[in-house]
């Protein structure tokens, strides 16, 4: 299969999901992105991205029963699939290849 590269935001969402391990819910993913990258994310964008990653087979979710403060609404716990991990790896490899020899530029004064 031809390598599938991920969009920047898709990568971030997948990485945040991995970081959160068993605690990867939509809200915690958002917090993770805010805390680690300092990026505030539109709700619509996040949910659409989650949906897209799921369609591409990079993410899976499992429904959990909702607590009273959620009005009883179910909660989805996300998990990165092995395809998702592979895609992340490909993206990172491509990134590394492309950044080789550019240390001077990328690490020098902006």
């Amino acid at each position: 299969m031809a390598p599938r590269y991920l969009g920047e935001f898709e990568q971030m969402v997948l990485l945040a999901t991995l970081q959160l391990r068993d605690e990867a819910y939509a809200i915690s993913i958002i917090k993770e992105l805010e805390v680690r990258v300092g990026r505030s994310v539109g709700r619509g964008t996040l949910y659409k991205t989650l949906e897209r990653l799921e369609t591409k087979g990079f993410l899976q979710w499992k429904a959990e029963a909702g607590s009273p403060e959620r009005g009883g609404h179910a909660r989805r716990r996300f998990r990165v699939t092995s395809r998702g991990v592979a895609a992340l790896r490909e993206s990172r490899d491509a990134f590394q290849k492309l950044t080789e020899g550019l240390d001077e530029v990328l690490e020098g004064p902006a």
Binding site: Y25, A26, I27, G42, R43, G44, T45, Y47, K48, E51, T55, A63, G66, S67, E69, R70, G71, G72, H73, A74, R75, R76
Partner: protein, 898 residues
Amino acid sequence: MPRDSGPNKGMPPSLLERVLKTTLPKGVIGESILGDLREEYVAESDASSAFRAQLSYLRKAVSIAFRFSMRTRSTPPTKDNPSRGIRSNMSGFVQDLRQALRLLIRRPGLTFAAVISLGLGIGASTGIFSLVNTILLKPLPYPEAENLVEAFRVDEDVTGLNPTPPRVSGLWAVPFEVHLDWLSMGRVFESGGGYAGRRVSLHDGDSSETLVALRMTSGAFRALRVPAQLGRGFLPEDDQVGGDPVALLSYGLWQSRFGGKSDILGTQLLLDDVHYAVVGVMPRSFAFPNENYQLWISFSDENKTSPVRNGGYLKVVARLAPGVTLDQAREDMDAVSAQIGQMHPEEAEHRVGLFYQKEMIVGDTGSDLLVLFGAVVLVLLIACTNVAGLFLIRATERHREIGVRRALGASGGRLLSQQMAESFILSILGGALGWGLAVVGLEPVLSLMPRELPRLGEMAINRDLLFIAIGFAVLTGVFTGFLPAFKAARTPITSVLREGGRGLAGGRRRNRVQTALVISQIALAFVLLSGAGLVIRSMVRLLRVDTGFGVENVALVNVSYPANAEESTDAERYFRSLEDHVRGLPGVLEVGGADQMPFSGGWSSPPVTIETTEGIQDGILHMPTVTPSYFSAMGIPVLAGRGLTDEDTPDSEPVVVISQASAAAMAPDGSPLGLRIRLNSPGDSIWRTVVGVVGDVRYRLNFGAMPMAYVPMSQAPTYLDNWVIRTASDPMALAPAFRRIQGELDPTGTSSFVSLSENIEGSAAAVSARFSVILLGSLAALAALLAVGGVYGVLAYLVQLRQRELGIQLALGAERKSVIRAILGRGFLMAGAGLGAGLLIAFSLGQLIASLLFRIDPWDPIALASAGGLLLGATLAASYLPARRAAGLDPVEVLKGE
């Protein structure tokens, strides 16, 4: 919304949640997103405030709804979410909108015509409907205003026993003592009280200003339940005779006269000769009983009550106790009337009339407004029909395209959606234009409104106006889009493919629908035009009414009296000396005076005892006090006996001069001279002998001649406010000379000049007639323009459609004239059918417009015929352009083009 509180704490706004839900996928995904938002909402409202949490929720919901409604069509349905197929239709509509927009931009002329049509229709409807909404539909601006009632004294002579609100409105008929009885004996009122208007002079050093004040009891104030914005309202102790007089300022007066000073409370106002302490300022929205009133003063003067229980001057407002219906209240007040009748036998005939306050205020303007509203609805209908017609033309052009798409499997629903998308865009644009027109036009149209129209002050450019415009836009969108959409959706594939490129057969069929649309437009336009014709003819009649006096070159002058004219005899002396001086001015032909005048202020009609040729009767006469020269100054002819003269003095026999209407009532077959009239008032009950008969006059254009009896000023001295000066030329040119003379006699005196003819033109009847004419006239013109445009559109389209046929005819030697005739004939037929249908509608609606008309039949043949003629002429003119184009076709070019 209150912060951090309310029943919703811990719960996101449920409406928002429900709306959001409709845009989300069904199943666990949608559920979990709602759950996420709710969880965050709870956390945020705990951490900061409910308000912030709501804002944040709103922001997220918008972001999600936006993203999820933009879902692309390529998303396949999944097991988890089978509703994706439906959702793709949603995005299909978005696509349809895009395509519709492209189509509309490609045909700017058509789009422009449609948007203008709709904009005008929606704008007019929005404006008039917001009037209807403000005046008729919205509750009065008081808390629980539906419980407010007004109480009247009803009797057989003055009001009739079953009066309607318009009949009694304006009767200040309740004596103070009687209203106290009603309130103390009645058990159905929570609170209530009396009020009466009064003009007062506010003195401030040397200057003075006339203000419109309302005396009101604390009960009346309490019934309204509107607290003062600053200070306090009226309290029961303010009603005590001998208590300290207090005043409440209107917001407007507080701002304009006192600069909105916050330390206004306690300020003393010298009103007439009494000091009033300002105890409060009312909020800006408070306008009781209407926006003319500038301040409210307490009812503490000692002569508010009189032992005589007639001579009422109060209106009474009351609030029904909780749970009491108007019918129950009426029953209770009937019992109260019976009780009062036992205590005061002379009042046994009186009853209490109770009406909802809103009915009293709206009065009979309701029917006039509804006629206007009906008229704009017709205009909107014509505009919609017009746009639907334009769409049909478009649909015909796209006939082939639609047929092919159907053949390729497009469902009827898809085609319907596409067509609706177009009308959706147009109606939004039209609605925006209409709203803009309503916003821009509201101010100028309001300035045309008769000032008597109630609740005008509440009209404003506000959210209501926007909602109304949106409502009309949605309606028009559905109305204009549905017919063409339906046609497109039902286009049979085979017929299109059989027709080849010519699109003839389907075109013809479609053409029939279009012709029907145009005929109905003409019919509706005819209804409006004939209505406009009727109000125009009615206005002409109104302004031509014989008032009974000479209108030209007469000035009405309102003159103040010197402060030292304490007795009415002083006033008379002052009047006579000023009169002598004025008479000497160049250009002055005659000077007269009266305490009541036609077309100026109100009048009183006291009960009197009258000698008639058939015995003594009780009745009501209108009795102004006048100077001897009043008749010649006004140009009122003396028909029998004599006028009043300087020989009528306090010592000579008391006399009156009566009008023809009175003469007819007193002596139907003989001469009234020598018969007598006596006022039924305790202070003045002498018999006066009739010595002359003068011509009838009208006090208002739309009133009949009232029975009058003129009393000479010398025998009933009073303060005559109205001067009548007949001049040789422009009466207003006299003002400077008059003021100079007045200044010599009374340095602080004031006077206001107005010409009698201006007063008549500015009278309520004339203003509302003009208003009807302007509004109905412009609506009718708009309707006619739209309808004629429709005729043009159909015929032009027809010519284009039949180009080939016409080309062949011309090639075969058909005369150009006959081509023109055929097309004109077609236009004529449409006009004829439309007029016929319109005539039927006009006949059946005639009665509705009768309330706007003055002495003219709603089926007036001249109005109907001129409307018909105008429309027919315009239709033929509109038909001529396409006809000429058809006749000018070059057969060779046309056939080559095939």
